[in-house]
Amino acid sequence: MPEAPDILLDTPACAPGNMPQDLLLEAPGGTPDLRHSRAQRLADRWAHLVFLACGLLVVALIGGILYFLAARGVGAFLPLAGNTDKVLTLREVFLSADWDPNAGRFGILPFIAGSLSVTGLALLIAAPTGILTGVFIAKLAPAWMKTLMRQVMDLLVGIPSVVYGIFGLMVVLPWVSGKWLSDSPAAGFAVSAAILSVMIVPTIVSLATDAFESLPLSLDEGSQALGSTRWQAIWHVLIPAARPRLLTATVLGLGRAIGEAMAIQMVIGNNPQWIALMRQSTDQTPMLRFLFTPAATLTTELVQELPNTAAGSTWNNVLFAMGLLLYLMTMLIILATRRLGQRRNA
């Protein structure tokens, strides 16, 4: 072994293993003093505190919102301070479809069913479209188109939801009304879900594209080497391989869809009695009635009624309980995505 040059031995900064201590604490004479100055260390500590405070603020905000919603929402069921009205049982609220606040009946089942229906329908449209677009961008599109598509998707995410709503109200609704299978008005789940799916497709597309791009190239090449066509490779190999991440993409889309209020409330018709109305009506087949009956969701009902109800009244409290329910549902969805992500990594 040739002798190491002097400089390596003499300069502790270059000796591996004990570098940090030497550098910071007892740099021997001759080497530059690399210790941070007092001012710098002070600044470091302050920065640390600022970052910590910001982090804590976010946590406190989330906790605070939960507390605020819960404090008011629970008032619907418990005689808390600030209540000016009667309290209800959980059963009366969560297991009843009878919503008639002026008569003291507060069944929120129509809103829960409405939220789930419109979100489900939107996913039914957006998930396949988004995933297939993802395949296209990641595997089939020429380079220039790839860039273009990505930019278009980013653009779609940036459009405010109220703009989608105005488009739905002024263009889509009049266009669909009275045509094909729908009556006039066409307000209801069909148009809302269509608008909503346009809003969540970009989320699903960008996550799906990442999923396909992160697959090892050998999968694609291997299956083609074995004689599969492009379609067979995509359908039998790529999509199954990316499935966990595609699921995550879909669930994130779901999370965005369930909280959307502005766009939907402009086109859905906001009818809290939609279940009763659907049952009474004999106009069309049940499926078409379901798609084109003016309906309501948790979010639309909150937007419509919250500003007009007096604080402390049962009505107001039930609306807060609905907000709390939405919060918890969203939390659940986020937890589910994390679970899915962990399984993917394992």
Partner: protein, 281 residues
Amino acid sequence: MTSRTLIRTALAALLLAPAAFAQTVTVMGSTALGPLVKKAAEDYMKSHPGVQIAVSGGGSMTGLNQVVSGGCTIGISDVFATPEQEKSGIRNYNVVIEPFALIAHPGVGVASLNSQQAEDVFTGKVNNWKEVGGKDQKIVRVNRPTSSGTRAVQQMTVLHGKEFSNNQLVQDSSGAVANTVATTQGAVSFIELDFLNRSNGRFAGIAYNGASCTKADVSSGKYPLFSFGHAYTHPGKTDPKTLKVAEDFLAYMLSAQFQDTTVLKAGYMPVAYVKSLKAKL
């Protein structure tokens, strides 16, 4: 809602801090009445230096909640206070008449409804325009949300207290109602007179009981489709000096000078028109 109010109050306080020595009256509530009250406040402050009148929105119910709790000097509202709110000792001033009109999608083939027909259309007894002399076209009712004060007034005057049909679309603002009626075949609804005047034929007015929304028909009681714009004060929770300024301001709003000019121009009507109608007011 509370946090919004808090932020607003904080902002208002910041803005008003330099004027701490002036008499400050805060007005809060109905977004529909807001512009009119703001105009009144500007005029009043011009002739009364040293008085500050700050007008902010929030909605009728916010205005009522705030005046009851002492959060503002004057709460403006399109609806009467609830019985519980009345009990707190607030005082009501009817400041303007807010007339509204029946409207429909152009092309339903009906130009007027009598009060029974109008009631039937909205309660759901009648479901096709041909039953009230129009085209063979399904009736699409467009209403305000259940909690809306405007809707309560409509239920009282047009439906004579009966329930609205549950076969309806709901929109929560005059603008959204106007758009929906304009773009939906067979739609029918109510809207503030001002909106109808500016509709450019996108939707059509329907005469009620053969009467139209004119001074003569409103003051004779032939045209009952109106509500009052209210201003509430709370003598028990207001500093007497501020209360006096607030009362003087409201007196200005009720003066002929203001009512016969600005009020009319804004699409409202002077309260004097219905002075003779003692019933139900």
